[in-house]
């Protein structure tokens, strides 16, 4: 099966600490053997007692205790090694996954969902910890112990030895029967049922406050309750199924004593000697060790399955293809943007943008407008190469953007998102993200140009206020203005502005527009506008609907066409009037 591959995979993450992992196994095995040695001391003690020879007993006892202590110390050192290595493996797994994630096209995160992705990166790696830190060293011990035991059992008296091994073999057979292929499948079903239940719970909890309608509540509760019932039914069935084998198994591993008793009778039938008594007594004492060892091994496979599952999850991320990156000295000759027959689809079924060709001369201002879901953001994201189109070529300054090293491309293109996210940190950190070596004065200047001074003034520590803590959060419009300041500081020749769809207050709206306009001069600007009044002076307007360009031209040309755009303009104006009217009231 693939378990050995899993282990290999994990060990690859250990780097230099791999040796430490191996060392922990060796130490653990040594400790296991050491733990068996006191048994020999016990044998010696019994022998002396039977021979009424008491002088050495205390010394044997001391040896036994010393050996036990040494064995324990060795075991602890082994665990220390395995833990250090396990922590390193977990850390490296996370790092490698994160490094991989940043090389992926952006669509991948959307597809996974940020919560799920975090779970895989953070939790699936952590899930391997117990396995690595405890199970593997224990397994080494679990292999060493039976070998040592068997050697010892057979050495002292092979007949009794074989007899006391019989239940062990029985136990093993039963265990194999229980933890075969079917078990693996069961484990997966169990995980699925759990996940299903958790999803329904989320839907239920989340859905309620939003959808107030009574019917909906009942419906989502039903779904949740059903998933719980399904889980419960499954688990109980599974538990029932396992009951019989578990009982037999428990009976088997605990029946060594019966075999010894039988053995004693068989041996005794030929006359009782001290040696026979000695051996029987000895086996009486050590057989419990066998059942303990067996129980220890019992739990192994369960964790191995968890690890297997975790690695499968990790692979769902690691198998995503990273975006290619160029390594060359090519520099775009100017800041023109050219799209040639660009087609892109998120899901491979429906094209989000279809066969689009646009020519944007250096230094011009163009606008993308159109109904929601028309493909404006998608098209703009393609220009910033957040993902690659399935067909067609995008050129900046004459170069295919796939031939421009990513870092240089990002120096050329700035994107102010419809919904920007700020990192937890100060305003200054956020603005400086684009230019880490910027001075405070530069930061302030950018913030001023982006109309952010009113935000700064109301914060307790100005630009050094930490966002996201102490209840300090910014509204969508405010966030967008900070993002604009960031872009101003970055000062790139191509700028893409994705206007937020809706603003809570008109004051914010005016400020964002003003902030936008401070960036226009001398750059190539692509503006995605929902407020059509802001693009009356655009050099060219493209109307996107259903992923295709329906119309294009200057503002006046488009109005004259009496098509989609002029309809949009009428709608827009009446909505503005409605809004103004409402405010006047």
């Amino acid at each position: 099966m693939s378990k050995n591959n899993d282990l290999e995979r994990l060990l690859r993450y250990a780097g230099r600490y791999k040796a430490l992992m191996y060392l922990s196994w060796v130490l653990s095995a040594i400790s296991a053997i050491l733990a068996l040695l006191p048994l020999i001391c016990i044998w010696l003690i019994i022998r002396d007692v039977l021979a009424s020879e008491y002088t050495m007993i205390a010394r044997y006892g001391a040896y036994a205790v010393a050996l036990a202590i040494i064995s324990m110390l060795v075991y602890i050192v082994a665990l220390m090694c395995s833990h250090i290595a396990a922590f390193r493996i977990v850390a490296n797994m996370r790092k490698e996954m994160l490094s991989h994630v940043i090389s992926l096209p952006l669509g991948v995160e959307d597809r996974f969902g940020s919560g799920k992705m975090r779970k895989i990166i953070n939790d699936s790696s952590a899930a391997t910890e117990t396995y690595l830190a405890h199970q593997l060293p224990d397994r080494a011990a679990a292999i060493a112990t039976p070998i040592g035991l068997i050697a010892m059992l057979l050495w002292f008296d092979w007949r009794l030895g074989l007899l006391s091994l019989l239940p062990v073999v029985l136990g093993f057979l039963i265990m194999m029967w229980m933890t075969g292929e079917r078990m693996q499948e069961r484990m997966k079903q169990y995980q699925d049922a759990l996940a299903d239940m958790s999803n329904q719970a989320v839907e239920y909890v989340r859905g309620i406050p939003v959808v107030k309608t009574f019917g909906q509540t009942i419906y989502s509760f039903r779904l949740f309750k059903d998933s719980i019932d399904r889980y419960e039914k499954w688990v109980i069935e599974y538990t029932k199924e396992l009951m019989r084998p578990m009982i037999i198994y428990t009976g088997a591993i605990n029946s060594s004593f019966a075999f010894i008793t039988a053995g004693a009778f068989i041996l005794a039938s030929g006359g009782i000697t001290t040696e026979i008594i000695l051996n029987v007594l000895f086996y009486v004492i050590i057989t419990p060790v066998i059942s303990i060892t067996l129980t220890k091994i019992m739990f192994k496979s369960e964790e191995a399955m968890i690890v297997h599952d975790a690695i499968m999850r990790v692979d769902t991320i690691m198998n995503e293809k990273p975006q290619s990156d160029a390594h060359n000295g090519l520099v775009p000759s100017d800041s023109s943007v050219k799209l040639e027959h660009v087609t892109f689809s998120y899901d491979g079924k429906k094209d989000a943008v279809h066969d689009i060709s646009i020519d944007i001369p250096s230094g011009s201002l163009v606008a993308f407008v159109g109904p929601s879901g028309g493909g404006k953001t998608t098209l703009a994201s393609l220009i910033a190469r957040f993902f690659d189109p399935q067909e067609g070529v995008i050129r900046i300054g004459g170069l295919d953007i796939r031939d421009i090293p990513k870092e240089r491309l990002m120096q050329y293109v700035s994107f102010v998102f419809q919904d920007s996210h700020l990192i937890k940190g100060t305003i200054k950190d956020n603005v400086k993200l684009a230019k880490p070596d910027a001075s405070d004065a530069e930061v302030l200047e950018a913030l001023r140009k982006a109309e952010c001074m009113d935000i700064i003034e109301k914060l307790p520590d100005g630009i050094d206020t930490v966002l996201g803590s102490g209840g300090i959060y910014l509204s969508g419009g405010e966030t967008q203005r900070i993002a604009i300041a960031r872009t101003i500081l970055k000062d790139s020749p191509v700028i893409i502005l994705d206007e937020a769809t809706a603003f809570a207050d008109p004051d914010n709206e005016v400020k964002v527009q003003k902030a936008f306009s401070s960036m226009l001069d001398g750059r190539t600007v692509i503006m995605i506008a929902h407020r059509l009044s802001s693009i009356t002076n655009a050099d060219r307007i493209y109307v996107l609907s259903d992923g295709e360009i329906r119309e294009n031209g200057t503002f006046n040309e488009l109005l004259g066409k009496n098509g989609l755009f002029s309809q949009m303009w009428k709608d827009y104006q009446s909505s503005v009037e409605w809004k103004v009217g409402k405010e006047a009231m």
Binding site: V65, I102, N122, F257
Partner: protein, 253 residues
């Protein structure tokens, strides 16, 4: 006591009762495991006295009875622990979801609420395993060890004491160390939360980071946090090991 169990493990009254049954079943099962010891003791003395002949059937019957006892008592354990917890889990999940639903939404963002819910549901699963596997086993072991030790004391109080004294001492060490351990695990927990948050933020702001060419720089910071988790985990592991070692040393001697 039932009431307290109900509260500690978020159980219904029936669940708490079942849990107590689980404790008892585990204890009884452990005690049945002592029966073979008695049989072997008899066997040894018979051998020493040379009175073994003719008692074969007697021993055979004893052996069969005790194996059957072990299996029956294990069946009880199985039923009382695994079955009842899984029945209980459905009840618990529904009541959890009800509680979550009543939290004012403004308290968490919508997304946070979803995250919290899925976390809590995962915790419910952990609690389930704990209740079905570890808790009854532990309590059962404590009960049966006490009974066994007490009965040894009944025969010979000095021997009983010799067996028993390390237990309170070990418990004392565990209690004394709890404070230190709590602080250690607290700090490693904090580091872990920071990493989880960092990963989440990194994914959520990836677009912004990329458009600022800042993703590598951000990752550097995040790697620092991951390294810190590694360091803190080692520290808390060493700390825990020190106490566990000293406690189990005393138990072994």
């Amino acid at each position: 006591m039932i009431k307290r169990l109900e509260r500690t493990f978020a159980l219904s009254e029936k669940g708490a009762r079942d849990l107590v049954k689980g404790f008892i079943a585990c204890a009884v099962h452990n005690l049945t495991l002592f029966v073979p010891v008695g049989i072997l003791y008899l066997l040894a003395s018979d051998m020493l006295m040379n009175t073994l002949t003719g008692r074969g059937i007697f021993y055979a019957v004893l052996c069969i009875i005790s194996v059957v006892l072990i299996m029956i008592s294990y069946r009880c354990v199985y039923k009382a622990t695994y079955f009842s917890t899984y029945v209980e889990s459905g009840v618990r999940r529904v009541s959890l979801a009800e509680k979550l639903r009543k939290i004012p939404l403004s308290y968490f963002g919508k997304k946070d609420l979803a995250d919290i819910t899925s976390t809590i549901m995962a915790d419910a699963a952990t609690l389930e395993t704990g209740l079905s596997h570890w808790v009854p086993e532990l309590i059962g072991a404590v009960i049966s060890t006490t009974i066994a030790a007490l009965s040894i004391m009944f025969f010979d109080w000095r021997m009983g004491l010799a067996v028993l004294w390390p237990i309170p001492v070990a418990i004392l060490i565990v209690i004394l160390s709890r404070n230190v351990q709590y602080r250690l695990s607290r700090r490693s927990m904090d580091a872990k939360m920071e990493v989880a948050d960092g990963i989440q933020e990194c994914i959520e702001t990836m677009r912004d980071l990329k458009s600022c060419n800042a993703e590598k720089q951000y990752l550097k910071g995040l790697f620092g946090k991951i390294d810190k988790v590694e360091k803190r985990s080692i520290i808390s592991e060493v700390g825990t090991a020190v106490f566990v070692v000293s406690a189990s040393f005393i138990l072994k001697i």
